[in-house]
């Protein structure tokens, strides 16, 4: 009802979102749904979600919303297809195989492509693709949850967690803050947020930067000379980066790191 739709209409939308099976998918015993939830009627913003319910006893397992970062990256591409989802994609996109350690063994997994402009999520106001930021992303994600839980009322009051990585180190706590505030203001709170789980999370500009340069030095990825040059020329308390700082950082990445995958420094990079 919160989304201005009757209960029957919501249930019908849920049925319409049911995914019978994906192309090249092995048979599974859990249900999955995917589709759009409008988060701003006037501007035409709609977010795309994919729900893979828990394998076994979905009705009693918690709901976990997974967000990837970027900003601008897709939870379907990373969280669902490379990390915690039940399927992995075969080389060249020819089909799917099962992920033995899928987190849907323990929970109902909700992947959200956020904000509008990411993956299949869209806005009908094209200029908005260049005005995204933390605040609107968190507000739209809250609106998504409110409307989505009208479509799937069985998840109201269910133990609910938000998880994510990287720039979702912003998205996850900011959405949690909105939910806490929304629940406080509501006489009938139904989003039963129990906790958050963040990995390799962008958290604090200053400490993140200091910690990153420290990691590069302690893991022998950069020389003493470069390390000292960065510490000398970079003022991480400021959001602005000086030319000397950029030069020192770029030298490290382009001349001392070598051709590595910075996201996993001991594995071969993708040719």
């Amino acid at each position: 009802a919160a989304a201005g739709a009757g209960v029957e209409e919501c249930e019908e939308r849920a049925r319409n979102d049911r995914v019978e099976a994906l192309p090249g998918q092995p048979p599974v015993a859990f249900a999955q749904y995917s589709g759009y939830v409008t988060v701003n009627e006037e501007r035409g913003r709609a977010l795309f979600y994919w729900l893979t319910e828990a394998a076994g006893d979905a009705a009693r397992k918690p709901l976990v919303l997974w967000l990837n970062g970027g900003p601008g990256c897709s939870s379907v591409a990373y969280g669902a297809s490379e990390e915690i989802g039940p399927f992995r994609i075969k080389p060249n996109g020819t089909g799917l195989f099962l992920n033995k350690y899928s987190w849907n063994r323990e929970a109902n997994l909700l992947f959200l492509e956020s904000p509008a402009g990411v993956g299949f999520s869209y806005t009908n106001t094209t200029s908005e693709l260049k005005t995204s930021g933390d605040e609107r992303t968190a507000q739209d994600a809250l609106q998504f949850l409110i409307n989505w839980m009208s479509r799937f009322p069985q998840y109201r009051h269910r133990d609910f967690y938000i998880a994510g990585e990287s720039y979702a180190g912003h998205y996850v706590p900011q959405l949690a803050r909105k939910i806490v505030e929304y629940n406080k203001a509501s006489s009938y709170p139904f989003i039963n947020l129990k906790g958050i789980l963040v990995g390799n999370a962008v958290t604090d500009n200053y400490y993140d930067n200091i910690g990153t340069v420290t990691y590069w030095w302690t893991h022998a990825m950069i020389s003493d000379h470069t390390y000292k040059a960065i510490l000398k020329s970079c003022n991480f308390t400021s959001a602005n980066v000086s030319r000397a700082c950029s030069r020192a950082m770029n030298y490290a990445m382009n001349h001392e790191f070598g051709d590595i995958d910075q996201y996993s420094i001991y594995t071969p990079s993708c040719a």
Binding site: L22, Y101, N124, S166, A176, V198, N200, N205, T214, W216
Partner: protein, 148 residues
Amino acid sequence: CTETYAEKYYNRMEVQKAMHANTTGIPYRWTACSDVLIKTWQDSELSMLPIYKMLMKAGLRIWVFSGDTDSVVPVTATRFVISHLGLKTKIRWYPWYSAGQVGGWSEVYEGLTFASVRGAGHEVPLFQPRRAFRMFQAFLAGEPLPKS
């Protein structure tokens, strides 16, 4: 290269049809990351620490983990951040175990649990799926990571 597999799979018409995706004819291909958004991102809060404190006060369970072979948002960054929350330690630093091996190290504070995941990069469940799953089970159960 798994990201390229996704670029192929989710741009297949039959996949988009099965997922009820792209129903409005989005005028660009599906891609794992949007260049436009990342280049024009507007407001970005400098620090999440004040929000962490508010969420702790609200009684939420907060877990922060870090794959220790990531150099983009590395474990040392996360540790600097947590150390500046000034939390009281409940369970002192210890190695946690998964499948008979050290899965990483953990420390439990009043209001927050930290865990490193050994041998994992930025996308922890991609590089160490079993350790990540073991950590997730402990998180949902609200229990410290296993000491053996």
